[in-house]
């Protein structure tokens, strides 16, 4: 292989190196790359939102639906209009109505999502037997110990988040166990993520050495 003759590959390589140069220090190349990125990505998101969200849901929805499901689309259109009222100083406050709708959605979904998606399943998953019999005595001890650790870790971590009581005496002891579990968890998930992050760098370096310079 030899060096690429495709001008687009050269542009991509220039942008890649510009963004990486940031690691050394802020410089003119990073500034160029950064501003191209911010500007073009803002436009890209606008185009994307139009073609994948607004057009199919509002415009196509209005054209293709009939009756109730057609006319109900007036409400989101109206809310969108309210949002844009922010440009009209005297009535800018009316945009809060639309904001209020989104916040209400968020709060409602916050409750339903957290209840049904996290709280209830997590509690159920923690209600485990303390004794599990395995193929051998050693296995029984291992499995039972795992369950005990899971329960202890979960409950002590909950105690760590106890706010309205001073952490002294037994509460302090338990919350310290909680902190220990939390620290192990953070270390483990940090270590677990490293591989995925290195993969990304490998991808970029390979692009530079292979697609652009043709060295490998």
């Amino acid at each position: 292989m030899s060096i690429s003759l495709n001008p687009w590959v050269w542009i991509a390589a220039f942008l890649t190196l510009s963004m990486m140069s940031f690691l050394y220090k802020d410089n003119i190349f990073y500034k160029i790359g950064e501003h191209i990125y911010v500007g073009s990505s803002a436009a890209f998101m606008l185009i994307y939102l139009w073609y994948f969200d607004v057009k199919p849901k509002l415009i196509d929805g209005f054209i293709n639906n009939t009756g109730f499901s057609r006319w109900i689309l007036i409400i989101p259109a109206f809310l969108s209009l309210l949002m844009l009222m922010r440009f009209v100083r005297p009535v800018a406050w009316i945009s809060r109505w639309a904001i209020a709708f989104t916040v209400g959605m968020g709060a409602g979904l916050g409750i339903t999502g957290l209840l049904q998606g996290f709280l209830v399943p997590q509690i159920k998953a923690t209600i485990l037997p303390l004794y599990v019999s395995g193929h051998s005595t050693l296995m029984t001890i291992y499995l039972s110990l795992n369950n005990i650790l899971l329960i202890l870790g979960t409950l002590s971590a909950i105690v760590y988040f106890y706010f309205s009581k001073e952490h002294t005496g037994p509460v302090k002891k338990i919350s310290q166990i909680g902190i220990t579990f939390i620290m192990v968890a953070f270390g483990a998930s940090f270590g677990y993520t490293v591989m995925a992050r290195i993969s990304l760098l490998i991808g970029r370096v390979y692009f530079l050495l292979h697609n652009w310079l043709g060295l490998v």
Partner: protein, 273 residues
């Protein structure tokens, strides 16, 4: 000695960046590789494609985008290489519109490498919205969803497509998956039309796909960068994934050594205080 130890706890971050960059770049440049025997499910996938009679049609589905590229792009390239080497015909489509150009790039690259001709040896169909409809219609007549290829050429003007109508004419379907499209392929193409499927997937979703392999609903599974590197080994063309696996190990060990160095420095300075 003392001075060195103190410095060990206080390395400039730029030196760390340089070390990491050099580690990745040199392992790729010197083509360092660690021997490991390919996973059985990857070997099986390889064998199935390898045993196809020449001229059979393999369909690739690009169901990922740029963020899963480091894992799935090398997989795609290794498999395309295998297909072209064995003189198989390739049709490419996809269900993630933003990922398709990446698939097409790989297809064009590898086809050029093997001097394959567009229309006779490979065809790029592109994307059509409506995942279910596309999959089900491929069971009857591909022309009902893809009347033309991505450039607008009618399918019948492409020699390769003249005899391709539905799943019966496709020997193997290869789905490269970063999300849930793979489940739909199994659900529709395999269950409804008994299509043979090989799935390649990111490390994150691979565990979810194992049950399909065990139940025989897919015939092969290639998971993550490891799977890709195994496939590269099998086609005897080590590329990004094989080199990547070596870099992974080197960088992981380097980070551990850096942590160790940092702690040695930390204890050395702490004792002085």
């Amino acid at each position: 000695m003392r001075e060195f130890l103190e410095k060990a706890g206080n390395i400039d971050r730029r030196i760390i960046y340089l070390i990491i960059f050099l580690a990745v770049a040199t392992t790729i440049l010197v083509k360092a590789r660690f021997k490991s025997s390919p996973l059985p499910e990857v070997q099986r996938s390889y064998k199935i494609i390898n045993d196809l009679p020449s001229g059979s049609v393999v369909m690739f589905s690009i169901d990922y985008d740029a963020s899963s590229m480091p894992e799935l792009d090398p997989m795609l390239r290794a498999m395309l290489r295998h297909c072209f080497k064995k003189n198989l015909k390739v049709i490419m489509l996809g269900h993630w519109p933003l990922g398709l150009p990446l698939g097409q790039l790989a297809l064009d690259d590898i086809a050029r490498e093997y001097h394959k001709k567009y229309g006779t040896d490979y065809v790029f169909l592109g994307y059509r919205p409506g995942l279910q409809a596309v999959m089900l219609n491929l069971g009857k007549e591909i022309r009902s969803v893809f009347a033309t290829d991505y450039k607008g050429t009618p399918l019948d003007s492409l020699p390769l497509m003249r005899n391709v109508h539905n799943y019966n004419d496709i020997a193997i379907l290869v789905g490269l998956e970063a999300g849930s499209v793979g489940d739909a392929w199994v659900q529709f193409a395999n269950a409804r039309f008994n299509q043979k499927i090989i799935l390649g997937s990111t490390a994150v979703i691979t565990p979810d796909l194992y049950p399909y392999l065990q139940a025989g609903q897919i015939v092969g599974l290639i998971g993550g960068l490891r799977g890709a590197s195994d496939y590269e080994t099998l086609v005897e063309h080590p590329a990004m994934a094989s080199l990547g696996m070596a870099s992974q190990t080197v960088v992981h060990v380097l980070i551990i050594l850096l942590i160790l160095l940092g702690n040695i420095g930390y204890f050395a300075t702490r004792r002085k205080k």
